[in-house]
């Protein structure tokens, strides 16, 4: 296997709150390989977004980040603001659910993209403007020359997300983190945006981390999947294994709860996600798991190989095949 371009080791994120420290991410390891589309799936509060905001150095001061995030030879945890500024947008880009909040309403689209280009290179203003129009064309915006002169409010939601993607890939970053990039969009527009992300990934060789709660989207575009629960990666496998032979009870529960053709009765997961101010001891999923045993409460399970998966469940081996 290739060397990972982004390597996360034992990442912990703690927020100090009036009610005490809240550990949102409780030690995750994650590798992102060049040119690969990696999914990070989980429900609200699982720590999937916070992990990558931490990697980008974008968390507020109430957050303490520990562990290691190596990107192309740079350590990002504890890096100086200057180093982070030179990395963000050049080696590592991020796009979000709401494209409007990522765009400046009073500047033309073309100018915003060329600003991104000129922030990281000595490109002339003229060359940057020409490149901005090319980028708009790459992400499938019709009449890119005219559209570059327009303002964000003149674009529809899907077109804005394309603009944000154009900005994110302007400097051909090694890694693009897409945090729920299609959640706010209608399905027909979602299909277009996923296609754009796949296309730029192929064209620029960018590694993409897709953060999502939608397993359908994962099934369509991703190669590797990390399932997060309560601030931990509980299962990691390639796409086929996750859907065909899931090993962690949470992954299995998640798949069983999805409405699919031919399924008469959905199977919900009992209970609800833990309060992260006071998570259960040991495996955080045990309070909702039908297979929980006494040993599950004793220590935090680590990811261990099982079949084609890495899974963090001490009972996974005996449960597989049941």
């Amino acid at each position: 296997m290739t060397t990972p371009v982004l390597q996360i080791r034992d990442l912990k994120v703690t927020f100090s709150t009036p009610l005490g420290p809240l550990v949102a991410v409780r030690g995750i390891d994650l590798d992102v390989h060049p040119g690969e589309m990696t999914a990070v799936v989980g429900e609200s509060g699982s720590g999937k977004s916070v992990s990558f905001l931490a990697a980008m150095g974008l968390l507020p001061r109430t957050a303490t980040v520990e562990g290691s995030v190596m990107l192309d030879g740079h350590q990002l945890v504890g890096a100086s603001p200057k180093l982070l500024r030179s990395i963000r947008g050049r080696l590592l880009s991020m796009i979000f659910q709401d494209p409007l909040s990522a765009l400046n309403p009073v500047h033309r689209i073309g100018a915003q993209i060329s600003e991104m280009l000129r922030a990281h290179s000595s490109m002339s203003e003229r060359a940057a403007r020409i490149r901005a129009v090319e980028l708009l064309e790459i992400v499938g915006i019709p009449q890119p020359g005219d559209r570059a002169l327009q303002y964000p409010h003149e674009f529809s939601g899907g077109m804005r997300q394309r603009v944000v993607i154009a900005m994110a890939i302007a400097n051909s970053p090694k890694v693009l983190i897409a945090d729920e990039p299609t959640t706010a969009l209608d399905v027909t527009v979602q299909a277009q945006i996923l296609e754009v992300i796949q296309r730029v990934q192929a064209q620029f060789g960018t590694a993409v981390v897709l953060i999502t709660h939608d397993l359908g989207v994962v099934a369509r575009v991703c190669e590797r999947v990390n399932v997060m629960y309560a601030g931990r990666v509980v299962e990691r496998a390639d796409i086929g294994t996750i859907f065909d032979e899931p090993t962690h009870p949470y992954t299995r529960g998640l798949l069983a709860s999805l409405p699919q053709a031919g399924v008469e009765r959905l199977v919900p997961i009992a209970g609800f996600p833990p309060n992260m101010l006071n998570p259960p001891t040991g495996c955080a999923f045990r309070t909702r798991c039908e297979h929980a045993a006494e040993a599950c409460g004793q220590r935090l399970p680590e990811l261990e190989p099982l079949g084609n998966s890495m899974t963090a469940c001490i009972r996974a081996k005996e449960l597989v095949g049941r």
């Binding site: 399905v187 979602q190 359908g216 369509r220 998640l254 709860s257 699919q260 609800f272 996600p273």
Partner: protein, 324 residues
């Protein structure tokens, strides 16, 4: 359907927009719903699906008269709602309820859960022991009696949505409009609430109008489904039929865009990629409203608006060039 619970005929709802400054002071009108007709039978679930701006939520609100329709007829149990006085309408409203999308916004944070659930009984001036009724409603939706004294902030999203359902059930309605009732919930929680809707309908026999943009959930819960686009019904029919054999190009494209949680199916199937976004409802295309994004559009489509026509048993679509 002669014995339907709800008849909707030619429903139109217009909203007036403020004139843009200096734009000639011309009042602009958005037709959010443009002549929609359907029935809902007793004990049936009608799914209403469509993308943003399709008018699905407005239809739901007009049925309940939370919005006054601009034109058209809504009859509930044989009574035309437009002919009723305010007091009479209030009586009918007992029997039609709504559950909203956001379980955080739809409960009063300062009221105990018990008081929220009992409020419809108080408003309707129903005498009797509300306490007992509240307990039985809480149990009906899978919560427990001691939850009545607590406040909304003590509950998770899924539990709050159950509280909203309990409140809607307080007056024993015959029809509940479920407006995106599970969209705000995580999937593992969503499944439990969907099952709750199934169980309640089996036990109590009420009808649902289930409004959602998630086509997989609608397929699971609906008996019939209506697909809306820019204020019009493009296709309506039995859910399995519409999902398996869509006859309108829009339905076909919409279904092919939905990501399915199965990598083999996802990567094996051909996808119809629609171009652009849904046009603005302020200025919808002439003729067929879908024609600007349709790969089958011809001159006829821009000149003449297609009527709903029966394509198969109970399945209707509005298209000049229907899918085989």
């Amino acid at each position: 359907m002669t014995n339907a619970l709800l008849h909707v005929r030619g429903l139109v709802k217009e909203f007036h927009l403020k004139a843009a400054r200096g734009a000639g002071r011309k009042k602009r009108v958005v037709q959010a719903v443009s002549g929609v007709s359907f029935d809902v039978a007793r004990g049936e679930t009608l799914g209403l699906v469509g993308e943003s701006g399709s008018g699905k939520t407005t239809v739901g609100r007009c049925v309940l008269r939370l919005l006054e329709p601009t034109a058209g007829q809504v009859s509930f149990d044989g009574v035309d709602l437009a002919t009723l006085s305010f007091d009479e309408l209030r009586q009918v409203r007992r029997r039609m309820q709504i559950v909203f999308q956001d379980p955080y916004a739809s409960l009063d944070p300062k009221m105990t859960v018990g008081a929220s659930i009992a409020e419809p009984l108080v408003v309707q001036g129903i005498a009797g022991n509300h306490q007992e009724k509240v307990v039985s409603l809480l149990e009906l939706v899978g919560l427990s009696a001691d939850h009545a004294r607590r406040f909304p902030h003590e509950f998770s999203g899924g539990q709050r949505q159950r509280i909203g359902v309990a409140r809607a059930l307080a007056l024993d309605p015959a029809l509940i409009v479920l407006d995106e009732p599970v969209s705000a919930l995580d999937v593992s929680i969503q499944a439990g609430v969907v099952n709750l809707f199934d169980d309640l309908q089996r036990r109590l026999g009420m009808s649902y109008i289930f409004i959602a943009h998630d086509l997989s959930v609608v397929r699971h819960i609906a008996d019939r489904v209506a697909v809306m686009y820019l204020g019009k019904i493009m296709e309506i029919g039995p859910a399995e039929q519409v999902y398996e054999r869509p006859t309108h190009p829009y339905t076909k494209a919409l279904l092919s865009a939905v990501p399915l949680p199965n990598p083999r199916v996802e990567r094996g199937r051909s996808r119809i990629m629609l171009e652009g976004d849904v046009p603005s409802p302020v200025n919808p295309p002439s003729g067929c409203r879908f024609r600007t994004r349709c790969w089958k559009a011809t001159e006829l489509c821009s000149m003449q608006e297609p009527e709903l026509q029966m394509r198969a048993d109970g399945q209707w679509s509005a298209c000049h060039h229907p899918e085989g």
